[in-house]
Symmetry: C2
Subunit: 225 residues, 2 copies
């Protein structure tokens, strides 16, 4: 494999993607829809966090979900059960979503009056961080069993995210995870990140996250439109 050739291809793809992403963001501003791109490793709890979030907010805020999965519909079935508008993108092996795929998802929701749309990206700490999805905000989950050293090893996602949800704090008792050490690593990359400590299993900490979402939707509606 010729390394220089690969980099050129990547730059072409990125330039095309950036254009589509900007068009998508312009549309979201017009439609006053806050779209949040939710990323994490496999099994960190993206779907569980969405289910908790929908449960807490669906009577106050109109929510939609664009689900991505390489090959299954496991997660989107759970989201569909909540009754909120949702679509499933099957990536067919792709390791991330780009703006064109997300645009198809937003078209599929076919509902320009939504206040808040979540993209559940492919479970992957690497590739999704490299592609602008067109979302207004990026959020990520790190679960306690993954370890507090992940910002050192996957720095781009921690640098890009506006919010970091530390999930599975109910595992803390069996783990040597050190939240102070995590914060120190994250602060060096991204001092402005909003950090939440939650357990999607017990519900602990979820209200701080949903309060931040309500505030962020309100601020966005104040600036958009």
């Amino acid at each position: 494999m010729d390394e220089i050739k690969l980099i050129e291809i990547k730059e072409d793809i990125q330039a095309d993607n950036a254009l589509v992403a900007q068009e998508l963001r312009d549309r979201l501003l017009r439609e006053q829809t806050l779209m949040i791109n939710l990323m994490s490793s496999p099994g960190s709890g993206k779907t569980s966090l969405l289910l908790r979030t929908i449960e807490a907010l669906k009577d106050e805020i109109s929510i939609g979900v664009i689900e991505a999965d390489i090959d299954s519909v496991v997660d989107s079935e759970k989201i569909a059960e909540t009754g909120i508008p949702s679509v499933q993108l099957r990536t067919g092996g792709f390791c991330h979503l780009d703006a064109t795929m997300v645009k198809k998802g937003l078209d599929g929701l076919d509902n320009p009056s939504l206040d808040l749309v979540f993209i559940e990206n492919v479970g992957n700490l690497v590739c999704p961080a490299e592609f602008d999805t067109g979302a207004i905000k990026d959020a990520m989950i790190l679960s306690v069993p993954e370890g507090d050293d992940k910002p050192l090893k996957y720095p781009l996602m921690f640098t890009k995210a506006n919010a970091l949800v530390v999930n599975k704090i109910d595992y803390m008792q069996l783990s040597d995870f050190d939240t102070a050490r995590l914060k120190s690593h994250v602060n060096r990359l991204n001092p402005d990140i909003a950090l939440f400590e939650v357990s999607c299993k017990t519900g602990e900490g979820i209200s701080q996250w949903t309060d931040w979402l309500k505030k962020t939707v309100a601020e966005f509606n104040g600036t958009a439109g």
Copy 2:
């Protein structure tokens, strides 16, 4: 982004990679070195499993490690402390290793008499499964907190792996992870996979994994050379 164009690029890269991978495998056969490509999500315990494995086997088998990391040297420092030959590949953002990168790692080890070389791939359940590294065997880790549904969502890696190490069984008491359900999902994809249940934290189950490694090295030495 033009989807058809991207697929063509991917096929070109894959064809080039397959050639390099086959050359690498021919060399490993000549040198009688069993190279195992170890893959998992971020934080599943690749480095911890390697440390346990080195501790158990280093007096019987000569071992080397090719470490990959996007941007840090956290893991390779831990491996270097064991005193076994190791090299670090810094991928600079790449989400997987290909055969050319692995060849550079094997050249860097500069030791054709090793019995067993591990590649610690980038933490990612998607992309590493798509690229032939030139390894003789593929092994993967799934940790209990990630959940037993991962074969449904990341099928390619579970289909390709010769061995599956279920790590962090010490978390089982706090989890709804169901090993029978995992086995049922995996068996549909890959009935021949060797499955091990371990805790790198407590050492439980490690000897079954290292026994399999010893047997696999001995069988490979019987066929190679």
